[in-house]
């Protein structure tokens, strides 16, 4: 099918042939499909980071893109292989919660358990089960052809997000680092209660900002305080800041430096946005 697109994500790394072999399988079964790597450098078995990267990527891919995601520490166990039709996109991968974030708030989704006709390996379902299923979807097959319906997909825990008792701070957690030393937090768009907390003010282009931004500050679990600014150049080189990143999430950064080096912050560490 002309213009079909498969977006690939895995924890296979780039040293071996695994990611390339999945692409070979697709090229063989659905010639002409455009193959785009989101990343293959998810830390081994880190389903949560994988779920986050898929959530980040989804809005920017063409209509009908098939997201083939293989972070699969349970391969060879009874965890189900699934294919999902969402509103305008497809997902193929293990039923381990990896699609939780990207499916949230995007309308009804239909999931099937992928039927395994030929016995393949116990350790490489990316090649033997998921890539063939993704190729079928890219070639125009309906998900229903891939297997019987499955109810109750496994759901990943949501990133921590709550409001303080005195209602003067939002408490979240550190998520993923990027290559530049910045780190995304759970505070912002990737939340179910975001709207209630009036987080919209940070949305770029928002015109009715009710949040007292001038009083805002970010406080780490160790008590360090960071100003909330528009962009890196608003603080001197080497100084830390919080800002709204390109995913509409609060991020922590150091102008030409690294948050991990400066604060020892790791994914999961508490962070709060206070305005009291």
């Amino acid at each position: 099918m002309a213009d079909a697109c498969i977006a690939l994500l895995s924890d296979f790394g780039s040293q071996g042939a695994y990611a390339g072999v999945m692409k070979g399988v697709i090229a063989k079964r659905a010639p002409g499909t455009q193959l785009i790597d989101i990343t293959h450098e998810i830390p081994p078995g880190d389903i949560r980071q994988a779920a986050f990267r898929l959530w980040q990527a989804l809005p920017y891919f063409p209509e009908k893109t098939v997201f083939l995601a293989v972070v699969d520490p349970g391969v060879g166990t009874s965890r189900k292989p699934v294919a999902i039709r969402g509103e305008g996109f497809f997902c193929v991968g293990p039923d381990n919660g990896i699609f939780t974030y990207m499916l949230e708030g995007r309308g009804p989704a239909t999931a099937v358990q992928i039927r395994i006709d030929e016995p393949g390996s116990n350790t490489f379902h990316g090649r033997d089960v998921f890539a063939p299923a993704a190729a079928l979807l890219a070639a125009g097959a309906d998900v229903a052809r891939l297997g019987p319906p499955v109810e109750g997909l496994l759901s990943l825990a949501w990133p921590r997000l709550s409001i303080s008792k005195r209602r003067d701070a939002i408490i979240g957690e550190m998520m993923c680092p990027d290559r530049f030393g910045n780190m995304v937090t759970s505070i912002g768009a990737l939340t179910r209660i975001g709207d209630l907390l009036r987080l919209q003010p940070w949305t770029p282009g928002c015109e009715s900002c009710e949040f007292p931004a001038s009083k805002a500050r970010v406080v780490t679990g160790h008590g360090q305080r960071l100003p909330v600014r528009q962009t890196f150049a608003d603080v001197p080189v080497g100084k830390a800041l919080a800002y709204i990143g390109s995913d509409n999430l609060l991020e922590i950064g150091v102008n030409q430096g690294s948050v991990a080096d400066a604060f020892g912050l790791i994914p999961g560490a508490e962070i709060s946005l206070a305005w009291g």
Copy 2:
């Protein structure tokens, strides 16, 4: 030519422009060819690992794929640049043994020495010799057009594999690690004597298992013993096992851990599969 596919493998790494430049050369000469990276992270000059990755990848790529493999420590010397037509695939690269494993047992192959018309660099035949040749093949040219026939391709040594004197163990060697900390051994499909040794019993789906699997154990060169199991979940977290990997080779792994960390095993180390 629509649907032509070139699979690339090299030791160029991803920091520089080398791999991208090879693709530019191909896009210029054979527009529309699908370019799929197997990997560019072969350790510099490691022809044997390159040969193994090509062997792993071959069965999963489309008919007529051109495998462009540039691990070429002898570039600039008298080693020959070659193009090979195998049964259903092509190879382009240096004649240094890199295609030995993928050509084994796959029917007759025709090799030519690539004629070098324009003087190029002494150090980057990937760009100046091999990518143009691969582009010609992808565009439908016959290998004979690329240069005169060459006999006696250089052959790589085969991975170690023998049977013990008492005929109660197969002795092999450790091959390549993967990103997850597992390591492939030479015991299994990638052998010329595999059939004789009745290694088929481990082939997934085999029904006539004559091998006494219950008695089987793997013994490292340091004397550690590992059980042979189906998959990781069959041993506790942190425990080692041997299993048949996705290439039908015996692999050594640690459930959510690393073989190299646990046993200090490196490629080339002796490993045996015993059943006495």
Copy 3:
């Protein structure tokens, strides 16, 4: 547009989703465009290395390739987003000097400041500004459609290159390392004064070599002397040499070793080619 090609370069690394998201944006807006990565592993913010890699890659890509280059430490400041039509190619990226080397000596270029219609992020213009612009160019749009003309693009400093007072040596500097431990210098093709200095003799295939190659030697800033040879095999394993690399620049290498390990040479260190 069939056969359109976009070549991507950035400092995004491969751990995150950034490079993949840029490709998603392009696939959405210019379906069927061939996407080729030059590299995404430019050291963060290293505009000069980015400029060098673009210069290396340009000659090998198809006519009309769009070079989308995002090494953009000034994102969110007043630095201009630009699109450039050169002779046979296009550039899209920040106006921070990244295109200096590739534009040099390649005829007139027309630059426009990319008009930003929709407010996007302050931190990811690769996704919100540059990828959409590159997609438009790949789809056949004229650069003039992207925004108003801009004069006086920012220019990067040129690599150091001078002739000694006694006119018996060319003094240059170390540029970028490659994965094999070799390092490119500024002496050779990437210079404005190369012609004057009669550097042509090293050009492979040159027949009228006026340079006394037999007397030539390379001297590091620490006083080490290296012979000038054709290729690695001309010196014993472990020995250093200088040679003309695949970009027609003088390179320093160690046969099966690393220049950085052997001499502690880093980018910017002085190097000279002497013949007196």
